[in-house]
């Protein structure tokens, strides 16, 4: 079991009970009066059969409050997800907090700080590094969105397989162009192993056909669901935090309702990824403090609903570099998410928006995750930790504690040691090359790659998965979704003696 972190105290609540009710009532009213747009026939029918008002022509679904309450009750407040190795199994919900990686479309060139497409090897290396991090508990859809020479439609499948090959942790599987059909088969190759299926709303209040289709497929294959949206406050939701939460909640409630209509008791968690709009550029304002206020309220409400909340806005920052701004945006977001009751924090590795990610960032973030985790685990208070007898024994000066067995026993239990922070004295620091956390993180990258050996798939599993990949490549070739030019470069990559770089 991936232990994660246990929050030892009541989550911080930043709105009153009356305000929670007002937001909930607001979402119910939106769902019943405004409704949601659903571009999927089967989903529309299912809503209709269960008492929703459905306008088939406009594809608009209005969900009655009673059905909402019923479905929120049916969704489990905590659930297990089985990993390839039982040591990585998850229990989502309760007071457990897990960290996952945050993806970036490309990697960063650390000399120029410019983005560039990673190679296949760099992709696999990032998976290996994420697998080695002590405070990272499972994966999101990608580490990077793809790598050199891989056709657009093969980016998701190649990513899924890279994560299966180089890690035993639980995966999140995306959807696009029917890839989930193949993903489901791949996951089922490993007996007992599970993975999350991803689904997103399209704010405001809309659900695309492709996403809906994949939701049916994932739930029918008994995958737990990670649902989310990505609204921009002031763009695709009202600009106010409360108004934005009403829209976000309405979307997520509609989503949870559908999961429970497809299969009562289906496992689902919901994420918040609302960001204020940058009023100058129109781009999402990553790392903005208002996003964390939004997240805090979202966590408070969804804990009350009994559906595990996920903090996705925690991962990306506005900074383009691994600098001071990047550090504070990351630290605030993770800490606030953990304090306010998120069960999962999507966090490590991502830098600007969803555009860049880097293994060194993941290593730096892992220390933040460790610090945040350490904080929420609080302090053990009992006779032994109070140490009254010891205090009596040591007494005033010249007594001290450094040589006591109690110190040797407890400091390692209670003190978190960051892996790459500079903790030297000034004189040591001057003598050893004035290194900072970035230098240490670079060194650790190399160290992990040299020493960490992920548990490989068995030969049978490897063959079965490779065959499904082949089948998928052929499927897309036939559908014309891999062009001849794409295929020519991809084929070279596939025929390389280093393939698959696992």
């Amino acid at each position: 079991m991936a232990r994660g972190f246990r929050r030892k105290f009541k989550p911080l609540e930043i709105v009153t009970e009356e305000e929670v009710n007002a937001i909930h009532q607001g979402a119910l009213e939106v769902l019943w009066k405004t409704g949601v747009l659903v571009e999927h026939e089967r989903a529309l029918n299912l809503f209709k059969e269960n008492g929703c008002k459905v306008d088939f022509e406009k594809r608009r679904v209005r969900i009655p409050p009673a059905l909402v309450e019923e479905c929120l009750r049916k969704a489990p407040s905590s659930f297990c997800v089985k990993a390839r190795d039982p040591k990585d199994d998850l229990i989502i919900g309760g007071d457990t907090v897990y960290f996952t990686n945050f993806p970036g479309m490309q990697t960063l060139d650390l000399n120029t700080w410019e983005p560039r497409t990673p190679t296949r090897k760099e992709y696999y290396d990032l998976v290996t590094i994420l697998d080695a991090l002590p405070n990272l508990h499972f994966f999101t859809c990608y580490p990077y969105f793809g790598f050199e020479d891989v056709p657009e439609v093969m980016k998701i499948p190649e990513g899924i397989v890279a994560k299966m090959r180089n890690s035993t942790m639980v995966n999140l599987c995306c959807y696009s162009n029917d890839c989930e059909i193949f993903t489901i088969k791949m996951v089922k190759v490993i007996e007992g192993m599970e993975a999350f299926g991803a689904g997103h709303s399209a704010p405001p209040l809309s659900f695309s056909s492709e996403m809906m289709e994949s939701l049916f497929r994932y739930i029918e294959a008994d995958f737990p669901i990670w649902a989310g949206g990505g609204p921009v406050m002031g763009g695709t939701t009202p600009v106010t935090i409360a108004g934005s939460i009403v829209v976000t909640n309405a979307e997520m409630i509609a989503y949870v309702v559908l999961t429970q209509l497809i299969k009562p008791g289906a496992r689902v968690m919901v994420h918040d990824y609302a960001l204020p709009i940058n009023m100058r550029t129109g781009a999402p304002n990553f790392g903005a403090i208002e996003a964390f206020v939004h997240q805090a309220i979202f966590n408070q409400i969804w804990r009350r609903y009994g559906v595990p909340p996920v903090a996705t806005s925690a991962g990306p920052v506005s900074s383009k570099k691994m600098d001071f701004q990047c550090g504070y945006e990351k630290a605030f977001s993770a800490l606030i998410a953990a304090l306010t009751g998120a069960n999962v924090i999507q966090f490590s590795g991502g830098i600007y928006g969803e555009l860049t990610a880097h293994p060194i960032q993941a290593i730096l973030d892992d220390d933040i995750a460790g610090m945040v985790g350490r904080f929420i685990e609080g302090a053990e208070v009992n006779d032994e930790t109070l140490a009254i007898d010891l205090i009596e024994k040591v007494g005033p000066i010249p007594g001290h504690y450094l040589n006591k067995a109690h110190t040797r026993k407890w400091w390692k239990k209670e003190y978190f040691m960051p892996k790459v922070a500079d903790k030297l004295t000034l004189s040591e620091w001057l003598k050893t090359g004035k290194k900072d956390c970035l230098d240490y993180a670079r060194e650790r990258t190399q160290e992990i790659l040299a020493t960490h050996k992920p548990k490989l798939l068995t030969e049978n599993q490897e063959n079965a998965i490779e065959n499904i990949l082949k089948e998928e490549r052929e499927y897309y070739r036939k559908k014309g979704l891999i062009s001849d030019t794409e295929w020519a470069t991809y084929k070279k990559d596939l025929e390389s003696p280093n393939y698959p770089y696992a």
């Binding site: 983005p115 969105f145 657009e152 763009g235 129109g282 781009a283 555009l355």
Partner: protein
């Protein structure tokens, strides 16, 4: 009298008052006032807002408000211009749309409005536009600039496809391509083979002028 109405039209744009802009536009027609001058007044208004944005005094919601007011009055005035047979001197023809796989329209619509105000002839194809549709429109209207909008980077292949199609048809050299949208970067623009990119709507107008040398 007509000076007053021009002043009010400009004011309606600057004050983001869509309803007033539309009713003033109707008044222009009823009173048989020169629609070209009315259009100039509105253009002056939106230019002022654009300049304010450029100076950092105004923000996106202001720009969007002015663009909205402009687009509520413009079709009324344009129809009148067409009816009277007057011809507005066009800086060039632009076709614009949000690419296939993407349904975001805020930025694209704003750019279209500002381009129109600037004096371009703009054909807004809408959202979720396939490469084939871009190509068809590029041929149909004697296109100087093709503008693609995308919030989602997943649409890159589609944008490349548009450019490939233009090459196949021998149109690539005749049409300048500009791209924009939430996740688009300079590098992305280069990667898909576009001629220009700007992160802001007023910047896109300047870019359009630069691309066609006007």
């Amino acid at each position: 009298m007509s000076n007053e109405i021009f002043e009010n039209l400009k004011k309606a744009i600057i004050e983001y008052d869509s309803e007033r802009a539309a009713s003033l536009a109707k008044e222009v027609i009823e009173k048989k006032i020169d629609p070209m001058k009315a259009l100039d007044a509105m253009t002056e208004g939106i230019r002022q807002v654009g300049d304010g944005f450029g100076r950092g005094e105004l923000w996106l919601p202001d720009l969007a408000g002015a663009a909205d007011a402009m687009s509520s009055a413009m079709p009324i005035i344009e129809e009148e211009i067409k009816r009277t047979g007057a011809k507005r001197v066009s800086l060039g023809t632009v076709i614009a749309g949000t690419v296939f796989g993407d349904i975001h329209s805020i930025g694209k619509t704003m750019v279209c409005t500002l381009l129109t105000a600037e004096g371009f002839e703009v054909h807004d194809l809408g959202i979720n536009i396939k490469a084939e549709e871009f190509l068809e429109a590029a041929k149909k209207y004697n296109t100087d600039i093709l503008a693609m909008s995308a919030l989602m980077t997943m649409t890159a292949p589609e944008q490349k496809k548009v450019i490939e199609y233009l090459k196949k048809e021998g149109l690539r050299d005749k049409v300048k391509i500009m791209v924009g949208g939430g996740a688009i970067t300079e590098e992305f623009a280069k990667d898909v083979g576009a001629d220009g990119y700007d992160p802001t709507a007023p910047g896109a107008v300047k870019l359009a002028r630069r691309l066609i040398g006007k």
